[in-house]
Each structure stands twice: as structure tokens, then as C-alpha cells.
């Protein structure tokens, strides 16, 4: 294909601003799908994606559009994941495009996430095409949004396209704008092959499938290729593109987007951002932007049933084939038995992995409180990186503890400012910037300990702002903080899975709260159970769970023995799902309660 007739674009939008609906419309109008084939959100193919209305994996769909100038254009829509956990992936997807549709809800306005991704797109020199969606809604205020696009992003809002993706209005104008405003791909068709991997996943039949944007040269079936980050070479076994069904082809040329498989065994050998080149005539320089992304948030995953440990390992290995950002290593807990310490990009990533393990592998899991990786300088000069409270050294050995800090931007309406500032304060935030964006909106830039936001920050931000505030953040380095390890003892036994690393000033409150929660969640046992929270040997909070006094069935129900049995079986099953620590049966919710400490009731 002549690069002059190729347009590669993506769509930037906040959740619920209508990205998927617009994408569906584009597919429909260009005839990629008949109306009959349309199900909502064609591109979000995982169940999880559809349910949550978010995109987790990238997609690339080729559309053929007969433009009003009489020419047929190849449009490649690159759909990017839409969450703060996946900034690196988003950046690589954007790098594969020359333009981005900036979709803004006509009733809502620009959100922090959209803004962050727009800046990311501008950073990669993409042409931004503003689209104001949902103009059919009575509450639509296109003029206000136009102004906002101008004031907040600095783009010409006057030219923004007015669209109702739901009703199909203005969608043809969007296609025309893509053709006329998107620069054709630059790149040298005659230079040695350079193609950017912007997503990859594992397919049990074909090995790793990568999504590629060919920048220079071309890639052909049978070609010997090399991945530039590690130098391994492979033979191209399959090429094609999605339309949106997969269509095989022999060759992908400069400017084109498609998929490739080459008998690559794991996704960690075909990482997002890596450059594919020709093995015989390699390019001199890889495409920019490749980074090895590191997990930021850590949690222990344990099977409820200890014999499922092997199954959990198999499941984690399979998931890892598909997700190189996720890490795991064996860990054991006195309370929970054998499990794995897992690393995630962020909380959403954690939730996704947890849900996939439970759904796709039918595992019952206990997740311990998510935490971050601390850097500890010991008195003897050693530096230790720990991602689990279990590895936290004795306080006497610690010189300093450093914790990861993020820079967060929050956009909200002014009226919620007071509550938001209070929340940021409570989460140990340090204000960096305070900007008025006009039309009653403000943007706050804060430095926050990552540890504080892994708990419930996002939910609370949404609550205090009635769902209005939006958040974006990036890692900003490490900072020394007086962190301590808070232990919990149940009936005198330390329950390691309930330990927490907290700021010294929060330790007392968190300890009290944790004990109060556990008192409610741990059922009465046949004896009194003492609950204690302690830092080292110092108990900072305590309470008792009184002994159970009765668990008895009164009536005989006219001989209904079956009902009695069912009730006893239910109670027995309930106990089987608990974890026994010492003599005490602790329900799963108790382990989850740690997640909620510091959150509001």
C-alpha cells in the first residue's frame, strides 16, 4: 500500500465518554462489520473488558474507507488500554499512530486521564482531532467543552467535531477528518526493517502473537527477524491484520499495522516497545521508547485450599505468558501456607489478574493487602528492597526506610476542592501545583506516597467528588519516611498475612481500626480470643472476641432431618473456607479487611 493512502490513528477518551461506541460506528460505516454482526463494544473482546467498559489489551483494526476525494484509504484504528496502570502500553500504542481522536463527553468535559493521554500523544507528535461526543443528550454543552479544550489543552476547540456516536450523527465527518488531518506515515520503505511491537499475547496454538507497526522496510512471511532488545532471531510464520476478523497476508509494508507470529515462546521475549528488525540486514538503531516495565504494587496470592498451590502456580505461569508486566515468586506464610508474592503495575492490574485467575482457572484465592516496594538502608550499610511486610527487618537494624512517591494530578470541580484537599492531606500528600482551568475546574498536582493510594484513594476521591474528580499519576522516585511494621496477634499467634507497613504517625489509628474490624469479622470461637496489634514487642491496640456461647438448633421441624443436615453442612463448609491459625478459624474477609484499613467505613 502506498503510504500516502495510509492513516494510523487512535482514540483517547475517558471511561464512558463513548470510545467503544464510536469505534463500533467507524467499523459499521466502513463496512468492516455488517449491522448484523455488531455487538456492543466489538473491540473489547475479553469478558472483563466488556463488563468493566475498559480496554485492557490493545487492538488494531484495519478499515478501508472510500473518502469524498474519490480515493480509498487504509485506516488503522489502534485501540489503547485506558487506565493509569498501563501508561507505558498506552505510550507505545500512541507511538504507532500519527493522530488521535480526542473524544470528550459533551456533558462532562475533559478528565485527568484524558489530559494525561493527550499530553502523551502530543509528546509523540500526534495530530489531535477533538471530537465532542454525546451531543444528542439534553445536558450537552458543546460550547463549554470547546472552550475547555482550548483553555485546558491549548487546542483549537472551535474546530471540534460534534458527534453522537450512539445515533451515528457526525461519524462520517470524523472519517473525513482522519483522512485529511492525519499525516501519512513517515518512514523509509527501502531502509532495513524496523517495526514497533505495541502489544503481544500468548496463543496456545501459534505462540506469541505481536501487534506491529512497520516503520521502515517491510516484513514478509518466512523472513528471518530479530528482536533488538535481546538479539534472539525467529522465522516469521504468519502475518495478517484484523478487519476486525483476522485476515492473513504475505507482507506488511512501511506504515502498515498488523499482527505477526514467529514461534516466540513467551511474551517476555516479545515485549511491548521492542523493535523487530531483519536478522540478516539489521537496522542500526532500535525505535525509541523501549523500557523494561517494573511492577509497582505487590500482594500475596494464596489458594484458599492449600492443595491448590500447584494449580495456582500453573495458572500464574500461564498468565505470565500473556502478561510480561506481572511478576511472581513463591512465598510462604504461617497463616496462609504456600502462595506467591506477585507484582503488578497498579491496583487495576492486580484486580484483573485476580479476577482472571478466579474465572479462567476456577481458583479460590486469598489476596493479602497490596503494598509497595520499600528501600531500606540498614545500620550495617546494606540496602534492602522489600515488597512484603514479612521481609521487613527488625526496627533496631534500620537506618532509614524509603518509600516510592508518585506525582499525581487531580482534576475536579471547585466545589469539591475542600474535601479533596482534606483527602490528599490525610494521604500524606505534598502540594506541588494548583491551577485554575476555568469554568469552575481546578487541577491539583501532588506528590503522594504510592503506598497511600494503593488502598482506597481512587474510590474515596470519586466519593468526595461525587464521581467527578479524575486522577492520573506517574512514578516520581523514592523518599525517606518513618515507616514501621504493624503486626497482628490472634490468640497470641502472630498472623503474618495481616501485617502492614504503615507510616509511624498512622500506626496507632490503623492498629485500632484493624483490631476493630477483625473483632467484627472473626466469628466467635469456642474460647475467648485475644486480638492485639503490635509494633515490635509493643502492643498498641487490643480487644477480645468473647467465646461463643451457643450454636444450637432448637426445633425438630416435624422430623425434618434433611434440613438439619443441610444447615450443619453449610456451617461445616463455611469453616472449611476459613484459614486456621493456631486454634482460631479466620475467615477470608478478615484478610481482606487489612485492605480496608485507613479507608472510611
Amino acid at each position: 500500500m502506498d503510504p500516502a493512502r495510509i492513516r494510523n490513528f487512535s482514540i483517547i477518551a475517558h471511561i464512558d465518554h463513548g470510545k467503544s461506541t464510536l469505534a463500533d460506528r467507524l467499523l459499521e460505516i466502513t463496512g468492516a462489520l455488517s449491522q448484523r454482526e455488531m455487538t456492543d463494544q466489538v473491540l473489547d473482546s475479553m469478558d472483563l473488558e466488556r463488563e468493566r467498559g475498559i480496554t485492557i489489551k490493545a487492538h488494531a483494526v484495519r478499515l478501508v474507507y472510500a473518502a469524498e476525494d474519490g480515493n480509498a484509504y487504509q485506516l488503522n484504528l489502534i485501540d489503547t488500554p485506558g487506565h493509569v496502570d498501563f501508561t507505558y502500553e498506552v505510550a507505545r500504542s500512541l507511538q504507532a499512530c500519527e493522530s488521535a481522536l480526542l473524544v470528550v463527553d459533551a456533558t462532562q468535559g475533559v478528565e485527568a486521564q484524558t489530559l494525561a493521554n493527550t499530553y502523551l500523544a502530543l509528546h509523540h507528535n500526534l495530530e489531535i482531532i477533538p471530537v465532542i461526543n454525546k451531543i444528542d443528550l439534553p445536558a450537552a454543552e458543546p460550547d463549554r467543552i470547546r472552550e475547555q479544550i482550548h483553555d485546558v489543552i491549548g487546542l483549537d476547540g472551535a474546530g471540534a467535531l460534534l458527534v453522537s456516536a450512539k445515533q451515528g450523527a457526525g461519524v462520517r465527518d470524523v472519517l473525513e477528518a482522519i483522512v485529511h488531518l492525519t499525516p501519512p506515515p513517515r518512514g523509509n520503505p527501502d531502509a532495513p526493517l524496523r517495526a514497533l511491537i505495541f502489544d503481544s499475547w500468548y496463543d496456545p496454538y501459534r505462540g506469541v502473537i505481536t501487534l506491529l507497526r512497520v516503520v521502515d522496510g517491510s516484513v514478509r512471511l518466512g523472513q528471518r527477524i530479530r528482536l533488538m532488545s535481546h538479539g534472539k532471531s525467529y522465522e516469521v510464520e504468519g502475518l495478517g491484520f484484523q478487519s476486525p476478523k483476522p485476515v492473513p497476508c504475505d507482507q506488511l509494508d512501511a506504515g502498515e499495522v498488523g499482527f505477526m507470529f514467529a514461534n516466540i515462546k513467551t511474551v517476555s521475549d516479545a515485549r511491548i516497545g521492542d523493535t523487530v528488525t531483519d536478522d540478516a540486514i539489521p537496522a542500526e538503531e532500535a525505535l525509541p521508547g523501549f523500557e523494561e516495565i517494573k511492577p509497582m504494587v505487590f500482594a500475596g496470592l494464596y489458594p484458599v485450599e492449600s492443595h491448590a498451590h500447584g494449580e495456582l502456580r500453573d495458572a500464574l505461569e500461564k498468565l505470565r505468558l500473556n502478561d510480561s508486566a506481572f511478576s511472581f515468586e513463591p512465598e510462604s506464610s504461617v497463616a496462609l501456607g504456600f502462595g506467591f508474592r506477585c507484582g503488578f503495575l497498579g491496583l487495576l492490574h492486580l484486580e484483573i489478574v485476580q479476577e482472571r485467575l478466579e474465572r479462567e482457572f476456577d481458583l479460590d484465592l486469598i489476596t493479602t493487602a497490596p503494598g509497595v516496594r520499600y528501600r531500606i538502608l540498614r545500620r550495617n550499610g546494606d540496602v534492602l528492597e522489600i515488597d512484603s511486610p514479612a521481609k521487613f527487618p527488625n526496627p533496631a537494624e534500620i537506618e532509614t526506610v524509603e518509600e516510592p512517591i508518585i506525582e499525581a494530578s487531580v482534576i475536579s470541580r471547585e466545589e469539591y476542592l475542600g474535601e479533596i484537599l482534606k483527602l490528599l492531606e490525610e494521604k500524606r500528600g505534598v502540594q506541588k501545583k494548583f491551577e485554575y482551568l476555568g469554568a469552575g475546574r481546578v487541577m491539583l498536582t501532588y506528590e503522594l506516597p504510592l503506598n497511600e493510594i494503593v488502598l482506597d484513594f481512587y474510590d474515596r476521591l470519586k466519593t468526595v467528588s461525587r464521581g467527578y474528580a479524575s486522577l492520573d499519576y506517574h512514578f516520581a522516585g523514592y523518599r525517606a519516611s518513618p515507616m514501621v511494621k504493624l503486626d497482628v496477634l490472634v490468640a497470641g499467634d502472630q498472623v503474618d498475612a495481616l501485617s502492614l507497613i504503615v507510616h509511624r504517625d498512622h500506626a496507632y489509628d490503623r492498629g485500632k481500626e484493624l483490631i476493630a474490624r477483625l473483632r467484627k469479622l472473626i466469628p466467635r470461637q469456642m474460647f475467648e480470643v485475644a486480638l492485639q496489634a503490635a509494633i515490635g514487642n509493643k502492643v498498641i491496640a487490643r480487644d477480645n472476641i468473647p467465646a461463643m456461647r451457643k450454636n444450637v438448633l432448637a426445633k425438630c421441624y416435624g422430623g425434618d432431618i434433611t434440613r438439619k443436615r443441610k444447615l450443619l453442612e453449610k456451617q461445616k463448609e463455611g469453616k472449611r473456607r476459613m484459614k486456621r491459625v493456631g486454634r482460631v478459624d479466620i475467615p477470608q474477609e478478615a484478610f481482606l479487611s487489612v485492605l480496608k484499613v485507613g479507608a472510611e467505613e
Binding site: M526, C556, G558, I561, T562, K564, R565
Partner: protein, 365 residues
């Protein structure tokens, strides 16, 4: 020997604590129900002659005399050694009592639940203590001399003085049998659902705490013992010889045939449960469907523990079970929940209150 249970699932009102499948009375449905019930009894293939009979509900005391007598006339085995009717205080008249006696009834179980006026009013019941007392006398005068009185420990607003007031009445009326039921909290009663969901209706907020309910129960055990009513089962107390022969059959895994809505049967091998509501029961009769909606094979080897251990006499422990359950048995003996006397296994007083904890360990499937 075997027993018969007949269910009459209609009441003047639905009590807040009730977790049975009984419903409000309706003349039309009651008539159809009677017909269906007679049909079920008539078609039953008797492989034994019933020794005991139990009319439960609902409120069988609402049942019009002729209907009840007609249903009972379908049964073999009269005169029965023990024939009990559950009666709601306030519904017993001299005329009804005479009719019952004529039909073969010789025992009455009164669902008084409380003799304290405040407690009674809060459950939605309409009787008074004096009314209940008067009717006990009336039954005796008419020749129904074996009397049981039910009390519930744990009613909304119940206090120690209120509870003792009810026990005072038991002393005064001196029935040969009393049942003390600790309030059951489950999804099947309105009050139970309210308690489970943390709501405030039906006096849920005033339900006494677990410790108070246990204290009420223990007080009852002590006071009833003093007047000669011995605990022979977790919730049942009787003067020796006055035990409910019919209910003992359940706990000793003897066979019984149940007729009517939500009635249960056990023929020695299989347990059957009839359609749970009167309407469904009548409908199955009309369309000629079998009344039983569930059949489960009985498992006496396991049931004898969670059913038999309810009895103060406990269960005989054969060497095979002693080996099979060696772990739990020795653990519960050490914890003071079980005791072993020669070859019998019994719950201790503390074990009674925690009996579900014990019973679970004897379920193996």
C-alpha cells in the same frame, strides 16, 4: 413402632419469629386442603399401624371439628397411644376440646411462647397469660391431661424478669412437658431476615444478646428440673414418663409418615418431603402429581449422631464408630462438650449449647 404426622399449615396470623411454611388462613384454600389431605391419607399404603399421631402446623386448633375428625378417621391404629394436637392459646374452646377427645386426641401442645404481656404483644400474638392458663384447665377438664407448653427464649424485648414470669406460670400450671426453644435466626422468618440484614423491624433491635438467651435457657433448665421436668432432649423437658413418644421417634430414627404441606416422612430408608406450601400441595393434588417434592436416601450411620445426640440418653457407641470418629470424640471430650459413659456417648450441658459444633464433625460426606 411408628408415628404419623399431619400438617395443618394455616394460622390466624404469621408470627414474626415463625420459620415454618405456614400461611394465613383462607376458607377456600382450607377446604381444598382438607380434601387433598384426606386423599393423601386414604391412598397411603400402610406397612405398619401407627402408634403415635401428631397434628402440627400452622395452627391445627383452627381446624373445624368435623374436618379434623374426618381426616383422623382415615387413619389406622386408633386409639393411638399418644395423639397430640398443637394448639394456639386463644383458639381453644370447650366444644373443640370435646371434639378432639372424641377423635382420639389425648395430648395438647400449647404454643404459648411467653406469658409476659409485653413480649406476647410484640410477636403479634393475641392471647394473654390468663387466657392460656384458663385453656390449660379446660383441656384437662375435657380429658386431655397430657399438656406441653412451648416457650421461646430470645423474643424481642425479653428480659430476665419477663422470662422468669413465664417460668412462674409453668410452675403454676405444672404441665407434664415443656419445650424451651432458643430463637432461631434464619432466612425463613421475618424477624430472622431482619436480624441477618441488620434491620430494625419486628423488634429486631430488641432481641436479647446471645449471652442473655443462653442465661434464659440455663435458668429454665434449672427451674424446670426443680419442678421435676427433666431435660430429655436439647429443647424438651418432661416428668419421667411424660416424654413425647412421637418426637422421640424422630430422634431415635424410627419410621414416621407425614401428611400435608411440608410434611416429612421416613420409612427407614428414604426421607421424603412434601410440597412446602398449602397452595402448591393442593395444586399437586388437583393435577394428580405426587405430593413429595424431594426424596433423599437416609444415612442412619451419620444421622444417629446429629439426631441421636440431641437426647440426654445419648447414643450407644459401637467400636467401629469409636474408631472412625476417634479424633473428634477425644477432642470434644477434652473440651468438655462430650462425655462417654461405658458405651454411651452424650453431650455435656456445655456441649448442648455448642451442639452444632460437635455434630458437624460427624458429617463425613
Amino acid at each position: 413402632m411408628a408415628g404419623v404426622y399431619i400438617s395443618y399449615p394455616f394460622c390466624a396470623q404469621k408470627c414474626t419469629y415463625c420459620n415454618f411454611g405456614s400461611g394465613l388462613a383462607s376458607t377456600v384454600l382450607e377446604a381444598a386442603y382438607e380434601a387433598a389431605l384426606r386423599g393423601e391419607i386414604r391412598n397411603h399404603q400402610w406397612s405398619w399401624r401407627p402408634e403415635t399421631l401428631y397434628l402440627g402446623g400452622g395452627s391445627p386448633s383452627r381446624w373445624q371439628g368435623e374436618g379434623l375428625a374426618a381426616a383422623l378417621s382415615e387413619l389406622p391404629g386408633a386409639p393411638w397411644r399418644e395423639a397430640t394436637i398443637e394448639a394456639a392459646p386463644g383458639e381453644i374452646t370447650r366444644e373443640k376440646a370435646r371434639g378432639w377427645r372424641t377423635a382420639g386426641i389425648n395430648r395438647a401442645s400449647l404454643g404459648v411462647q411467653s406469658f409476659n404481656q409485653r413480649e406476647i404483644a410484640r410477636t403479634g400474638r393475641k392471647h394473654t397469660a390468663a387466657m392460656a392458663a384458663e385453656q390449660v384447665m379446660l383441656l384437662r377438664e375435657e380429658g386431655i391431661r397430657r399438656i406441653n407448653i412451648d416457650l421461646i427464649a430470645g423474643l424481642p424485648g425479653q428480659t430476665a424478669p419477663g422470662w422468669n414470669e413465664s417460668l412462674d406460670w409453668i410452675e403454676k400450671l405444672a404441665p407434664g412437658h415443656a419445650s424451651i426453644y432458643m430463637l432461631e435466626v434464619d432466612e425463613d422468618s421475618r424477624l430472622g431476615r431482619e436480624l441477618l440484614s441488620g434491620g430494625a423491624r419486628y423488634g429486631a433491635l430488641d432481641v436479647p444478646p446471645e449471652t442473655a438467651i443462653v442465661d434464659f435457657y440455663e435458668t429454665a433448665v434449672e427451674r424446670l428440673e426443680r419442678i421435676g421436668l427433666r431435660r430429655y432432649e436439647i429443647s424438651n423437658f418432661a416428668r419421667p414418663g411424660e416424654e413425647s413418644l412421637h418426637n422421640l421417634k424422630y430422634w431415635r430414627l424410627e419410621p414416621y409418615a407425614g401428611f400435608g404441606a411440608d410434611a416429612h416422612s421416613f420409612d427407614g430408608r428414604t426421607r421424603r418431603q412434601n410440597a412446602a406450601s398449602a397452595a402448591e400441595y393442593v395444586e399437586r393434588h388437583r393435577s394428580g402429581l405426587p405430593f413429595a417434592i424431594e426424596e433423599t436416601p437416609a444415612c442412619p450411620g451419620e444421622e444417629r449422631f446429629f439426631v441421636g445426640l440431641r437426647l440426654a440418653e445419648g447414643i450407644p457407641l459401637d467400636p467401629r464408630d469409636a474408631r472412625r470418629f476417634e479424633g473428634p470424640i477425644s477432642r470434644f471430650i477434652a473440651a468438655g462438650l462430650l462425655e462417654r459413659q461405658s458405651n454411651r456417648l452424650k453431650l455435656t450441658p456445655r456441649g448442648v449449647l455448642l451442639s452444632n459444633e460437635v455434630f458437624q464433625e460427624f458429617l463425613t460426606q
